[in-house]
Subunit: 348 residues, 2 copies
DNA sequence: TTGTACGCGTTATCAA
DNA sequence: TTGATAACGCGTACAA
């Protein structure tokens, strides 16, 4: 039947009112008499008109209601990180009042045709742990006047950033170990860069991942000579491998292992058990993130609880502010040190 | 300085060409002489024009390059399910060639102003495990002529669905246990409905979650009397609790436990160990999904490997087909039964 | 409370 | 290879 979709003009004509009146009935921005309202509704129903076309509305308004979230990697990898997911929850919540939703975008997307920062109808963009190669597209976006916020990454001057006190927080965890009396401490680190193969750090590495570098620095602030083994990813399995490597030499066994993430810490705990030792009596373990590690009970990691949801929310609020014409400041969040049951004084 | 953003018309004027020519320079849809191309580029650069406004382009084209993905819950909950993440990967890959990206939407979002199926500028929508309450907005979307695909859910006639052979697959796993000689088998089930509190199933439950119902039916096809304990979520921790409940009565201990997800199975394995028993010598355990459970090594679950990425990809391809005017058929995927090291004949 | 008039920025079509 | 024209469908001053 229909040769063409009904528009608001058709509805107005059918209802015998002007297009603007019909428009107002749907947007509710101006009072309309009940009678007119009803006639417009009826007309819409009879024409199968289901409301304003979002595309047209977005052109007219200059807003699409879409915030792009840019990740460096496959979604699969990204969402394996519980912290990122929590952050997304916070972000979602913060942009919802704007009438906005999140569009998933990938940095360096190899797929032809995939939408990008420049081709997607974005109101704003949030970059997560962005790499240096993002700088170019970032410039393009800013040239277009689209607000940009960066979470855990350095985007240069003029871009609000949401950060964490990684270095100081990690230092505090190690200070806790120091206070307990530990002298031989090892570090189970996150990857040094994308594509990193697990292995010991010898101090010559070039760090691409700021989080790893900063947390390592924090640990070394307290234990300058602590050996560090960097995993290939943040997972329990990788933590297990790191833990095995660290515990391999029975003569130089540390009495405490500081992991740079809770998932790694969970793996380290397993490695300790596997070696026939006990946590925390023989070996203390600390984590970082403060997430709930599924399957780790009855252990409760001594860890740094980072405000993951808050980070996302803050990014969303920064976006909202910029969209409102205000300018948003960078923000640095603080981790809370939480003592669980995985740390204790070293064995005699 | 700038009172207004430059448009393609400004660029055209500056370059001394027509707007359509300038447009074509950016879209590349028609050959343009190098000289003209260069002049347009220069004009754009001098005016700070960074390319066509996606909003206007999308109005004109009738495409926004955005596919909505609708979930029932918080992202946090949703993405705790590794299968969903894999599915998203497949979906992302499949819609990328369309030049489309994924917009995260939530069913029953209470936040005022949050974008919805009807207010977002979508080219198509994918519903994941959709609930009944979605039906209404679903109708609205379909009335607008927006293609819709449903993954693991029943959206009624005319909507392509991507499904799994849950019942038959689960039956095959239990048949494997039967072949090994097991006679006392228990089931660790997924939640029965949203908000379900863990507990034994007595046959009077009303199932809202189809997956649970279907896999249970498959298990009962082989062991009609198998007792079933339904967890409150799909997680290792919940699997542990379910496993404890199932193993609590030492006199009626099953020799095999069929879990409805790999995460549950991982928890069940822990429960078995905790009870001082061995897997698979004393108790066999089967899972469902075929994901890699972080931290479960050295166990490899005997499980049903579902093509999670493929499901997402198929949904994306269905969307692509519908967008191309073809009609997409529903699709039912088949799980592959994989024997790991968590099943063996029952103890004597 | 309703209507008029215009512009939002682009691109498809067709003719030159 | 380029240009003129006409939508695309809506929102919103402003006037009545």
């Amino acid at each position: 039947m229909s040769t063409r979709r009904a528009t608001i003009a058709d509805v107005a004509r059918e209802a015998g009112v002007s297009p603007s009146t019909a428009s107002v009935v749907f947007s509710g921005k101006t009072p309309v008499s009940d009678a007119t309202k009803q006639r417009v509704r009826d007309a819409a129903a009879s024409l199968g008109y289901t409301g304003p076309d979002p595309r047209a509305a977005s052109l007219r308004r200059g807003r699409s209601g879409i915030v792009g979230v840019v990740f460096e990697e496959h979604l699969g990898r990204t969402f394996q990180d519980p912290v990122k997911i929590l952050m997304m929850d916070g972000l979602t919540a913060a942009v919802a009042p704007l009438g906005a939703g999140l569009l998933l975008l990938r940095d360096r997307d190899e797929t032809a045709g995939a939408p990008t920062l420049t081709t997607a109808p974005l109101d704003a963009a949030v970059l997560v742990g962005c790499s240096g190669m993002l700088r170019e597209s970032l410039d393009a976006v800013r040239a277009r006047g689209i607000p940009v916020v960066v979470i855990e990454g350095d985007a240069g001057e003029g871009v609000p950033q949401i950060d964490l006190d990684n270095r100081d927080a990690q230092r505090r965890a190690l200070a806790h170990l120091r206070a307990l009396g530990h002298e031989r401490v090892a570090i189970a680190a996150l990857p040094v860069r994308a594509g990193w193969e697990r292995g010991w750090l010898d101090g010559t590495e070039r760090f691409t991942i700021d989080v790893t570098r900063d947390r390592l620095a924090g640990a070394r602030d307290e234990y300058p000579d602590a050996p560090a083994f960097a995993a290939a990813a943040s997972s329990i399995d990788e933590g297990l491998l790191a833990g095995r490597a660290i515990l391999a030499d029975a003569d130089h066994r540390p009495t405490a292992i500081a992991a740079q993430s809770d998932l790694l810490a969970a793996g380290v705990v397993r490695a300790v058990e596997e070696a026939g030792l006990r946590v925390p009596e023989d070996v203390s373990v600390t984590g970082f993130d403060g997430i709930v590690v599924d399957g780790l009970a009855p252990y409760e990691l001594t860890t740094l609880v980072q405000p993951a949801v808050e980070k996302g929310r803050a990014a969303g609020e920064a976006v909202a502010a910029m969209l409102a014409g205000e300018d948003a400041a960078s923000l640095r969040f603080t981790c809370v040190f939480r003592v669980g049951n995985t740390t204790a004084p070293p064995p005699d």
